[in-house]
Amino acid sequence: MATVAHDEHDHHEESFVSKYIFSHDHKMIAKQFLMTAVFMGVVAMLLSILFRIQLAWPGEASDFVSFFLGDQWAPGGVMKEDMYLGLVTIHGTIMVFFLLTGGLSGTFSNLLIPLQVGARDMASGFLNMLSYWFFFLSSIIMLASLFVESGPAMSGWTVYPPLSALPQAVSGSGLGMTLWLFSMAIFIASSLIGSLNYIVTVLNLRTKGMAMTKLPLTIWAFFITAIIGVLSFPVLFSAALLLIMDRMAGTSFYLSDIIVGGEMLTQHGGSPLLYQHLFWFLGHPEVYIVLIPALGLSSEVISTNSRKPIFGYRAMIGSILAIAFLSFIVWAHHMFVTGMNPFLGSVFVFTTLLIAIPSAVKVFNYITTLWKGSIIFTPAMLFTIGLVSTFITGGVTGIILADAALDITIHDTYFVVAHFHVVMGLSAVFGMFAGVYHWFPKMFGRMLNTRMGYAHFWITIIGAYGVFFPMHFVGLAGAPRRYYNYSVYQDFDVESFDLMLDLNIIITVFAIIAALGQIIFLFNFFYSIFRGPKADQNPWRSNTLEWTTPVEHIHGNWPGELPTVHRWPYDYSKPGAEADFIPQNVPLKDGEEEH
């Protein structure tokens, strides 16, 4: 009876506002998240090109820089020191939070959770809508902070106090920082509402037969990501709240014995290290909030396009769980040289290096999935292989950084920058691209152009490695991060100075190439939404439930009854079957064994 009622409910006419703007439909909300994220991603990438130009050609006038920054921040086409820090800060903030947290989870958790578990929609459509609009609002505030007279936040994306607490210390710690904090507070609200919704939906709205052990790895990844988010984001919220109090109410949570701008402050007894502990208690799980959804998406893509089951399904789930658990007890590896007790440091060395084990399991399982497969190189598959490669390359350098003794000399150098960009930036972005290419037909009912996808992938991976591989060497040579230029080395170590400058030019050139490569994607994306060839219902011949819904989106996802699940999602090339795929809603044949 319920389904009949639902059918009637499906066909009511919707106004433009309720369909496209304040929509409760998870598929529309997913698209809204994706569009916002693409926009934010383009902005953040542009910011990075601006500061890359400064690093490669320090002090040289650039029309490009002057075009975007104007006379106030780039008089004569050379950006100011403060603005350099502002660009670095906002680039990091947008990439980490807006593109890879809000954008990645927001898009794909929303799109795929109801479709792959077999639900009509999210548990609460209203909260889901709210989650998007909070995200939108926080994005607007963050972007607005770029246009403030005194500049955006300038204390790095980690906004460590006292620098971020004292407007006398740097101009961006004025209104720009206030906006940053309010934007993040709203962002966190968005993320929490979204995550609660994802968790409830996965736990309660699975269709008949969809046991937890039959869930696609994408859903496992989104589910665990949401749990990590719910447990860690509130801690950042409280850290931000205390920082707001220190800035506005004269409290001394993070401040003690400070003289700044000639003024002797009375705050006493606070600790800047407290902020760092609170920040990284979110900050490290955040890395996995960014990465795990990408791993989930790529697991699905690699299995479908190798026409093979994902190798070690249970080990894959187990390793995600292990990574998620460990991610909560490793945060202080960001703080080895902050003055924290060295014994505490050794504990964190141990827990951090343990993460390498489940990560290694995942990598080998990916590789074994390819072994003896029948690989089809869709653009999504290319990006997935790119992800595995960057996950390896960036992961192994983590072993160096987790080792406190080695971290002493490379902490806060470009080696760190290279490490996290490869392992979490590139891997997550590649996972997100894989997701967009793979599920574009589901989102928009049309196909992306494959050839452009190929060009996009090869330019992106060549550009990306071209940027981040040399960056390791810049860091090992001793280049601190967040330096406006490296002229200081000219005074005492010319050899190192030359290395840094040479490599910085190479890096910037590759960054520009990679950025131009994204134009291909943007064009393909927007063009195909309107003019791409119409998609088939199941274009990749995939097993999961989203491909059993009609191409045209309908409210409630399935026109009739919800599908019943009979098997796991990875019956590809199963011996005894005619086709090389068996969707999850196909009953087991007589005598057929589950995998």
Binding site: A169, T397, Y483
Partner: protein, 401 residues
């Protein structure tokens, strides 16, 4: 302006050109009945070959970088623990670079080899417990070695300094470093940030500096008395905002001066001797080869990080707390210049924690001397202790007043 218009015009024309190309492509693919989901054998092969090509390019680029910049491009460490760190770093690099090559090779090679071939079905292979155990246990064993060696080096590097280590304080502020040597008694005098005055930049604690700070706070140019007289002056018209700022300033100073009087009451003048023999050194930090130094780090304003790239040493400086790090310089500046074949080379102390606009310029030169030269330098400094300089400058201040 014209340039910008031309650029915009070129971009628009470019987009139109691509759109036209797409139209052509669209029509032709409709004719070929290609809906983008079917990947042709040719495209598959092309990408498979690209995988292999890319792998060689990636490895080639890596090897080129290593050859050009000399393994990791770091040069020799100039401290005893630094040499150990470098040894460990090299060992770790050998491990991770092997893993990098092996796994990336497997990945790209499998991607190349197992590309779809007509008539060949994929091998249904959902799991294998033995294999999975293998790649759980192998990394675990390797990591155990890494952890044990790493913790050994870490514990040595961060252990307490020996009693006879030379104590030096490094004081950081936006955007420079100041060193304070502990003088003949090898004990640094105490400090309190409230004692900061023009002739006591490092806020060193002695009976006299407390008095000066109180006097400064009460009767200085913008001290409490000056503020009060301005606020009480009925002839003076103050904008409300200025008045508020002055009241706030006055409250702050009243609070601070109360604390200074408490400090004065508690102060034990026997401690003064520890401070008077300290001497302050700007611009260049002199160290003696082969001696252990314990650095005590302080910050006046925001977090900085004392980063000695050549000595493989680093520690944040945190306002409100003292942090410590020790090392033994093992190569003098002259020796390192010879090794590097660069007569202009110097060691340096840099800031490695974002601290504001001029963060990238915050530096102090470091010079490591052989013991006789160091002694000579130290002797010359021992005649210019904090006591000498302090009383010389207060005398000047008093004369001016």
């Amino acid at each position: 302006m014209v340039e910008k218009l031309v650029i915009i015009a070129v971009i628009i024309l470019g987009v139109i050109a691509i759109a036209q190309l797409m139209r052509v492509y669209e029509i032709s693919s409709k004719l070929r009945k290609n809906n983008e989901a079917e990947i042709s054998t040719r495209d598959n092969r092309l990408n498979a070959n690209m995988m292999l090509l890319f792998m060689f390019g990636l490895f080639g680029g890596f090897i080129w970088l290593m050859l050009t910049y000399g393994w990791t491009g770091r040069g020799e460490a100039a401290s005893i623990h630094g040499a150990e760190i470098d040894w460990l770093l090299n060992l770790n690099f050998i491990i991770i670079i092997s893993v990098f090559f092996i796994t990336n090779t497997l990945l790209f090679f499998f991607a190349f080899k197992y590309v779809k071939k007509p008539g060949v079905k994929a091998f249904f292979y959902p799991h294998n417990n033995k294999l999975e155990m293998l790649w759980t246990i192998t990394p675990a064993v390797v990591l155990a070695v890494i952890i044990i060696l790493g913790l050994k080096t870490w514990n040595e590097a961060t252990a307490d300094a020996k009693a006879e280590s030379i104590r030096v304080e490094l004081f950081s502020k936006q955007f420079d470093w100041t060193a304070r040597y502990s003088g003949v008694d090898n004990t640094l005098g105490k400090f309190d940030y409230k004692l900061t005055t023009d002739n006591n930049e490092l806020a060193i604690l002695t009976t006299n500096t407390i008095d000066t700070a109180i006097q400064n706070m009460e009767s200085g140019i913008s001290g409490i008395k000056a503020l009060e007289s301005k606020l009480n002056d009925t002839h003076l018209m103050l904008a409300p905002a200025d008045r508020n700022a002055m009241v706030k300033d006055l409250n702050r100073k009243n609070k601070l001066v109360r604390l200074l009087y408490q400090m004065k009451g508690r102060h034990d003048s026997k401690l003064d001797a520890q401070a008077w023999d300290d001497f302050i050194q700007k611009d260049t930090l002199y160290l003696c080869k082969g001696k252990e130094y314990e650095f005590n780090f302080r910050s006046k304003d925001v977090i900085h990080s004392a980063y000695f790239p050549h000595f493989r040493a680093q520690m944040n400086t945190v306002p409100g707390m003292t942090t410590r790090f020790k090392f033994v310089p093992s190569l003098s500046t002259a020796e390192m210049r010879e090794k590097k074949n660069d007569t202009q080379f110097n060691y340096a102390l840099l800031c490695n924690k974002i601290c504001g606009g001029a963060h990238y310029k915050m530096k102090m030169m470091v010079v490591v001397l052989e013991e006789p030269d160091y002694k000579k330098w130290e002797d010359s400094k021992l005649t210019q202790t904090f006591r000498d300089k302090y009383f010389a400058s207060t005398a000047v201040v008093e004369e001016e007043m």
